[in-house]
């Protein structure tokens, strides 16, 4: 329908000839959201009269402009009254700008000739005095009218999409994401920092609430990812540089030297067996077990090639040993191997970089690191894991004594302004799981100390009921301290948990043999730098920020970059997997579109005015500005530019202007806001 009409504005070749535009103003009631505080009828009437000389030919108000009837109203006017500009006074452009621009486009008007005047977020929701609010709404509308007249029709930019995808992080979220995309027939580079994929889940013994064996459900996925024809697995590797933009990212990956030739290695394990150097495994065994200097972190590691830990290898330290080389049946050990830089081009990137465990030593009153039989959650996972250092025997730090009483403390480092303010989501269920395992394997008396029991997910509360039934003793109270200072005979040789039982209203001292700290999750120590490299931001807590907390939880403000799993915030396995899959759907959507439409809101440099000072070069958060040495001027890559305006404001010569935010537009809007453009009385 719309293409049957020609649009006179689109055809206009030069802005020099100043013609009067035909502007339509539409004031939305938004139910009572706006109409309750702003006299919308008055605003529309006022705009029709006072802004008439500016070109306002029609001004209407309507209950819900965003409804299909509201949109049709605009489309009808565009066609029948020949509107060349549209102002919708309604909510924030964040919400419905796209709606109205699309409506205008469908009626044959260039979408960038539509402006939204926010009279809800900026007026009705922040004022209570109706007279004042109405006056302000009029000013906001006047500003938008003055501005829209200066708007120029813009054409969307389309760029092709590279069908390859980079997934950073090989935990369960990253594996899931990679598999979904690979299964759809597209190539994935799966990059993992550690020697094997698997992430934290590979360290766990059981998973709540169904208590499936973690390895049993995870390893098939790991194997699938490791052998998938569409997945290039790069473990023991780091992403070191990212440039480009959605559809066309250029990524540099550092593949750290393994000192093991992957072509020759069969994964037989003889090298680790023969290696004489024992090292505490701080990563996979959470500091509770040992590995060799050449090692695969665990039996089901994917890939199964070992890595050599240069820091601890006797040969690298002393220059002799080479036991691994001597015994390797295929000659795969290569002490001369060097780090390798690999460049790949991808269209989309999924970040699944996971979390770090809160360092429980910071809560010195819980004694972790000082009192031997205080354990962290990850230590307990290894302790209870059949493949762990004690073969699944839950014992004290002496390695042999089975505890008779165990206290499990929730919210360690979480929900605490001294440490992390947020709830780490998984610790309640984790604490319940531990209680079950301790009870099942040792028959010990188990106490769980909690502030609030948070079991809000399918089948979670049922698990709580089950643990209650098993006889775990629950104490509602945040533990004050764990001490070895006995006050009476029965406390001697024990760890004493001092707590207020808030339901009983009494302070209690509970002697136990073992304390398990259900430590919280926190952002990776390098999340900020990683975020910066990929052009995304972190929340105040340090988690990667999603585009919208409810409606767009896996996308980011940077097109083509997605975040999944705990990188976005604490979450359990089901949610991590769901996010991994969700991001893949978004990636596949992009790939299948074959090209991506970019907003034409871009900055551009007037080379005549540019003095070549390079001030703008370093400021661009998207690395879109380059200096052209030959011409001694800066230039902006429109595909990279996200239209943020930083360079526009920074340019000392005034040489940069932002499309859609030109000086003329801004000044006109200010004049309008100050009611300088009113019809003379």
């Amino acid at each position: 329908m719309s293409d049957t009409r020609s649009n006179p504005v689109d055809k206009r070749s030069s802005p020099v000839e100043k013609k009067i535009e035909r502007v339509g103003v539409y004031v939305c009631h938004c139910g009572s959201n706006i109409a309750g505080t702003v006299d919308v009828v008055d605003v529309a009437k006022w705009a029709g009269e006072k802004l008439k000389h500016q070109g306002v030919v029609v001004a209407r108000e309507y209950k819900f402009m965003c409804s299909s009837l509201g949109q049709e109203l605009i489309q009808k006017d565009i066609k029948e009254l020949g509107l060349t500009r549209v102002v919708v006074a309604a909510c924030s452009p964040h919400l419905h700008e796209k709606t109205f621009r699309t409506a205008a486009k469908n009626a044959g008007l260039n979408p960038y000739l539509v402006e939204l005047a926010s009279i809800r977020e900026q007026v009705s929701w922040v004022h209570s005095d109706k007279t004042v609010a109405t006056a302000k709404a009029k000013a906001v509308v006047a500003g938008a009218v003055s501005r829209v007249i200066e708007n120029r029709p813009l054409d969307e930019i389309k760029v092709p999409i590279n069908p390859n995808t980079l997934v950073v992080g090989g935990g369960i979220a990253g594996i899931q994401s990679a598999l979904e995309i690979a299964n759809a027939g597209f190539h994935v580079y799966l990059v993992e920092r550690e020697p094997s994929i698997g992430g934290h889940m590979a360290q766990f013994d059981k998973t709540f609430p169904t208590l499936d064996c973690s390895a049993c459900i995870l390893t098939p996925r790991m194997v699938e990812a490791g052998t998938h024809p569409n997945i290039t697995l790069l473990t023991w590797s780091d992403v070191v540089n990212v440039s480009g933009y959605v559809g066309n990212f250029h990524v540099t990956i550092k593949k750290k030297a393994r000192f093991v030739n992957e072509e020759l290695c069969t994964g037989c394990g003889i090298c680790q067996e023969k290696c004489p150097k024992k090292v505490i495994d701080e990563v996979y065994e959470a500091g509770l077990g040992y590995r060799k200097a050449v090692y695969t972190p665990f039996a089901q590691a994917v890939p199964n090639f070992p890595v050599m830990d240069k820091e601890n290898c006797t040969y690298f330290i002393k220059g002799t040993c080479k036991a691994c080389e001597k015994f390797c049946p295929t000659g795969a050990i290569d002490f001369k191997q060097e780090d390798q830089l690999i460049n790949v081009d991808v269209g989309n990137i999924v970040l699944a970089t996971g979390y770090d465990l809160f360092d429980a030593r910071r809560v010195s009153n819980y004694g972790y690191g000082r009192l031997p039989n205080v354990f962290t959650s990850l230590e307990f996972e290894r302790l209870s894991n059949a493949a762990g250092p004690t073969s699944g025997n839950i014992v004290l730090r002496d390695g042999k004594t089975t505890p008779k009483n165990v206290g499990i403390i929730h919210c360690v480092g979480s929900r605490d302004k001294n440490f992390n303010n947020y709830c780490s989501v998984i610790c309640c269920m984790q604490g319940l799981k531990f209680a079950h395992l301790v009870h099942e394997r040792t028959g010990a008396t188990v106490y769980n100390f909690y502030i609030d029991m948070r079991t809000a997910y399918k089948a979670y509360d049922e698990f709580y009921q089950r643990v209650l039934e098993e006889g775990t003793l629950f104490v509602r109270g945040k533990v004050a301290e764990v001490t070895n200072a006995a006050r009476r005979e029965s406390e001697k040789g024990k760890l004493i948990i001092q707590v207020e039982d808030t339901l009983a209203g009494k302070q209690r001292r509970i002697p136990v043999d073992m304390v398990i700290l259900s430590s919280g999750l926190q952002p990776r120590y390098d999340a900020k730098e990683v975020g910066k490299m990929f052009g995304i931001s972190c929340s105040t807590d340090g988690w990667f920020t999603e585009k919208h907390p409810k409606l767009d939880p896996v996308a980011t403000m940077t097109e083509g970059i997605y975040i999944v799993g705990c990188a976005q915030g604490p979450k359990d396995i089901p949610s991590s997997v769901a996010q991994g899959a969700a991001a893949s759907a978004r990636v596949l959507d992009k790939i299948l579109q074959k090209e991506v439409t970019l907003e034409p809101i871009k900055a551009s440099v007037d080379h005549e005015k540019c003095s070549g000072c390079k001030v703008c070069n370093g400021m661009c958060p998207f690395n879109a500005i380059a200096f052209i040495e030959d011409d001694k001027v800066s230039d902006i890559n429109p595909a990279l530019c996200q239209g943020c305006g930083t360079c526009v404001a920074a340019c000392p010569a005034g040489a940069i202007s932002g499309t859609g935010f030109s000086d003329a537009q801004i000044i006109a809007q200010i004049d309008g806001l100050l009611l300088r453009n009113l019809e003379p009385a």
Binding site: N365, C411, R415, D416, K417, N418, I451, R476, G477, K478, V479, A480, E481, Q498, V499, E500, D501, T502, G505, K506, Q507
Partner: protein, 198 residues
């Protein structure tokens, strides 16, 4: 037939809830109390070294403040037992200035004459009187006056200690006085006026 009682009590409401109480305590406390942020986790009650002698744990007291139980709070022995060890303060996950709230509650209890045991308020007042009189604390005066009044029976047991303190020169028989007592008095008088007006 149960005995007829006041309808409100039968309905489970035996007092008017004074919902301004929490804010009043917060405003009277030095610094920013964060009292409204309490999540009732019990860290304070668990940390307190003297909780065993308290009628209410600090946490309970804060719940009672929220519920507007003015008289019960001000009658509680809890603030008077607080030893200002600040264990609860540094551990509180919500950064409530618990020890300072206790000071506020003591002051309010004195003002409302609602404390049930006069030993502590008398001790504080005696101490303050000495300071206001001399500008310095006067342990000898304080100890004798206080013990005779509140712990006469403790005195025989304390004889060796008191004697030792005096003979070792660890307790001055005469008070020390600062030079500019007038200045201090002027400052404190003005401060008291400000306190009344605030």
């Amino acid at each position: 037939m149960p005995q007829m009682t006041d309808e409100r009590v039968r309905a489970g409401m035996n007092r008017e809830e004074d919902l301004s109480l929490l804010n009043e305590v917060s405003m009277k406390t030095a610094g920013v109390s964060h009292l409204e942020m309490c999540i009732q986790c019990g860290t304070c009650g668990g940390s307190c070294p003297v909780a065993m002698d308290m009628e209410h744990t600090p946490r309970m007291l804060f719940a009672m403040l929220r519920a507007g139980m003015r008289d019960e709070v001000l009658r509680s022995n809890t603030p008077w037992l607080c030893v200002s060890c600040y264990h609860c303060v540094v551990r509180c996950p919500q950064e409530v200035h618990i020890a300072d709230v206790m000071y506020t509650l003591k002051g309010m209890a004195i003002h409302a004459k609602l404390y049930t045991n006069a030993t502590a308020p008398h001790f504080s007042q005696t101490f303050v009187d000495m300071v206001e009189a001399y500008g310095r604390s006067y342990e000898m005066g304080l100890a004798t006056r206080h013990y005779l009044r509140h712990f006469p029976l403790r005195l025989p047991g304390m004889m060796p200690m008191g004697f030792g303190m005096i003979t070792k020169g660890r307790m001055a028989v005469m008070p020390k006085r600062i030079k500019q007592m007038d200045q201090l008095t002027a400052i404190l008088d003005r401060a008291k006026q400000l306190e009344l007006n605030s």
